[in-house]
């Protein structure tokens, strides 16, 4: 530990920390642009300059390592003046096009101008250096060169985090711009993280551009269902539609990052949902649907229930209990035919289901293919697009009565005799257990559309109709029992406080 004095207060901090991080842990925020805790330091923006006793010039807090006895001042007239001057330089050529800029509302320039600038501009708009406003860097990222402050966070992300080194600065001084090599694109599968870490409106997401003002959006903590990594994410939503997904810091899982594939895979939650239950005679109310399902369950020995590693632990636990309590004799199996991917050595993992490990630990067998080929005449498929993933199973399912509990109009839903709408992970409180056995909770972000119910509510209703009790008053009680029963699941992941991203 090193003892340092920040603004007159003596504090003990970890050795080897950069001053900016040490100060943050002591509750002193030092403004910064180029510094990002997930990237190597560069010290180019000069915004974090502070006074260090014994050194005549101001020092950048992001490149200064704490030393025992260091006396630091972050709020002197000299420091405040420096920040204001740095702001003036950074805004020298800024187009001030906030009204049409996606970053407005979460922009480092807006925030710090109000906090540390507030100077009048000495130049007119016509004197500013003009640059390109819309450069397609790659399939997902668009650059506005005029807004860029050349902090090189995006450059360092590609170079040091992904290792693809696609982005660089070309030219010097007023002509300097972020660019790729001529003819090449920003094509790495993690490219959209550059948009998150861009402290200004220079890098924008092609999909999110001009879609929604950030101040309208509410955020919910969630877990990406794209693969068994379980990256921690924010769901940003507005008017009950998901607008974008962003990575949420978890040093044990995904750090500050997520892949583009996971980030862009949310339109299925907004669109093409099953809103009402459907049977051979048309649309049904939820109670009608439940009775129609019940009519198929008269002989439990003929029933196969298919669970999915895309379901939450809570849904799977409830489903298992439902079979044990209300439908003894029925077979329960789980699994997925979703095509696997590659382990790319960074975040993306082969299994494209978020909860395969959770399903195993809950004790649902994965003998899906054998069971499907078995004699069961009634198949209840929960959140599993068997036919979408394996069209050849059509002949296997042909002679069976199929009930699809599904959020979307999947191939399985189209081939089913009965379709019952259920929620997606974005409309549920729940948890996934990732490949490493970490059970990660998430909160519902939006309201379930139409008649969509959680699997818990569905099986609770079905048990009630069968005159059986699952034994839980609420989902909270379910979660409590589940985490008590399954080893290691009682450990709650500590809620993180988001670091300043701007």
């Amino acid at each position: 530990m090193a003892k340092i004095t920040i603004n007159g207060v003596e504090q003990a901090v970890e050795d080897g920390l950069y001053l900016i991080e040490a100060a943050r842990r002591c509750g002193v925020d030092i403004p910064h642009y180029c510094y990002h805790p997930g990237l190597p330091v560069e010290g180019n923006c000069r915004m974090c300059s502070v006074e260090v006793e014994g050194i005549p010039k101001l020092q950048t807090a992001c490149t200064t390592i704490v030393q025992d006895g260091m006396v630091v001042i972050t709020d002197s007239e000299k420091v405040v003046g420096e920040r204001s001057d740095v702001m003036e330089f950074l805004l020298r050529n800024h187009p001030i096009d906030c009204p049409i800029c996606d970053q407005a509302g979460e922009c480092g320039l807006q925030d710090y101008y109000m906090e540390h600038g507030l100077h009048d501009s000495r130049i007119t708009v016509s004197e500013k250096v003009k640059k390109k406003k819309r450069v397609d860097l790659g399939p997902n990222v668009v650059l506005d060169s005029e807004r860029c402050i050349l902090c090189t966070r995006c450059v360092r992300f590609c170079k040091d985090v992904v290792g693809t080194e696609e982005l660089v600065i070309k030219n010097r001084s007023n002509h300097a711009e972020i660019t790729t090599f001529p003819g090449k694109g920003l094509v790495n599968p993690y490219a959209l993280n550059t948009v998150d870490i861009c402290p200004v409106g220079a890098l924008t997401s092609r999909k999110f551009r001009f879609q929604c003002r950030v101040w309208y959006m509410k955020n919910a903590t969630s877990i990406c269902p794209g693969c068994e990594r379980g990256c921690n994410i924010w769901i940003d939503h507005h008017e009950n539609k998901i607008q974008r997904l962003r990575p949420r810091l978890n040093p044990d899982v995904n750090n500050y990052w997520m892949c583009d594939e996971g980030r862009l895979d949310f339109h299925w939650i907004n669109d093409d949902r099953v809103l009402r239950a459907e049977g051979p005679d048309g649309l049904m109310r939820p109670d009608e649907a439940d009775r129609a399902v019940l009519a198929l369950l008269s002989n439990p020995g003929d029933v196969l229930i298919v669970a999915s590693p895309r379901s939450t632990n809570e849904s799977l636990f409830a489903l298992k209990r439902f079979v044990e309590v209300a439908l003894p004799g029925a077979a329960l199996t789980g699994g997925s035919f979703r095509p696997t991917g590659d382990d790319d050595g960074f975040l993306r993992l082969p299994d494209k289901n978020p909860n395969s490990r959770g399903m195993r630990e809950i004790g649902i067998a994965g003998d899906l293919e054998n069971r499907l080929n078995g004699s069961a005449g009634v198949v209840l498929v929960f959140e599993n697009d068997l036919l979408g993933d394996r069209p050849d199973l059509e002949s296997v399912l042909a002679g069976k009565k199929v009930v699809a509990f599904t959020s979307n109009r999947t191939a399985t839903a189209r081939g089913a005799d009965l379709v019952v709408p259920v929620t997606t992970y974005a409309e549920l409180n729940g948890s996934f257990t990732n490949h490493a056995g970490l059970r990660q909770e998430f909160r519902s972000a939006i309201r379930p559309p139409g008649d969509s119910r959680s699997v818990f509510d569905v099986v609770k209703s079905l048990s009630g109709l069968l005159g059986k009790e699952l034994g839980w008053e609420s989902e909270t009680a379910l979660t409590k029992e589940m985490t008590d029963v399954i080893t290691g699941w009682g450990v709650r992941v500590e809620e993180e406080t988001e670091l300043h991203a701007g």
Binding site: T164, E165, E166, L167, V168, I169, K170, N171, R172, T179, T180, F181, P182, G183, K184
Partner: protein
């Protein structure tokens, strides 16, 4: 009219030996970027994107990184030098003798306007002020040489020659 010529960029055997000789001076392969940029510029007169990719391979880095460094220093020539710079006199004497039609003919044949270069970088056409050869108008200067008493036929013959080498 514009023909595309493609020169393969490579390091000569002598250059390769030189590279191996100096490699040890640098802590990382990246350190070689600057000397290699100079070698290419010395050997070819300019540094093409192909050359940057060649250097990137040699320095175990991305072409983008080489591009960043090459564009940082204005001393590096990143455009192919113009081979034939045609400066057509536009001033009174030549004008009276028909320099306008000579310029128009050149624009037509080269497919560019005065002030522009052909895409392959071989020709640049400029309308200039008096070159002090008023007795032999219309005239133009190609690089350092004068071409005088021009007619469209003469111009065609010159273009034929320049375009074939």
């Amino acid at each position: 009219m514009a023909t595309t010529e493609k020169t393969e960029v490579k390091f000569s055997e002598a250059r390769k030996q030189e590279i191996e000789r100096i490699r040890g001076r640098y802590e990382t392969p990246r350190g070689l970027i600057m000397p290699l940029l100079w070698m290419i510029q010395d050997d070819y007169g300019w540094i093409s994107y192909d050359a940057m990719e060649l250097i990137a391979g040699e320095c175990e880095t991305s072409p983008a990184w080489v591009y960043s460094i090459a564009t940082f220093y204005t001393m590096f020539e990143l455009e192919k030098p113009i081979r034939y710079h045609l400066q057509v006199c536009n001033t009174l004497s030549c004008g009276l003798c028909g320099s306008e039609s000579i310029l128009a003919h050149l624009e037509d044949r080269l497919g560019i306007q005065a002030g522009e270069s052909t895409e392959d970088g071989r020709f640049r056409l400029t309308a200039v002020e008096c070159l002090a050869s008023c007795g032999t108008g219309p005239m133009m200067q190609m690089n350092d040489e004068y071409y005088e008493s021009l007619t469209t036929e003469k111009v065609d013959a010159m273009l034929e020659e320049w375009n074939c080498d």
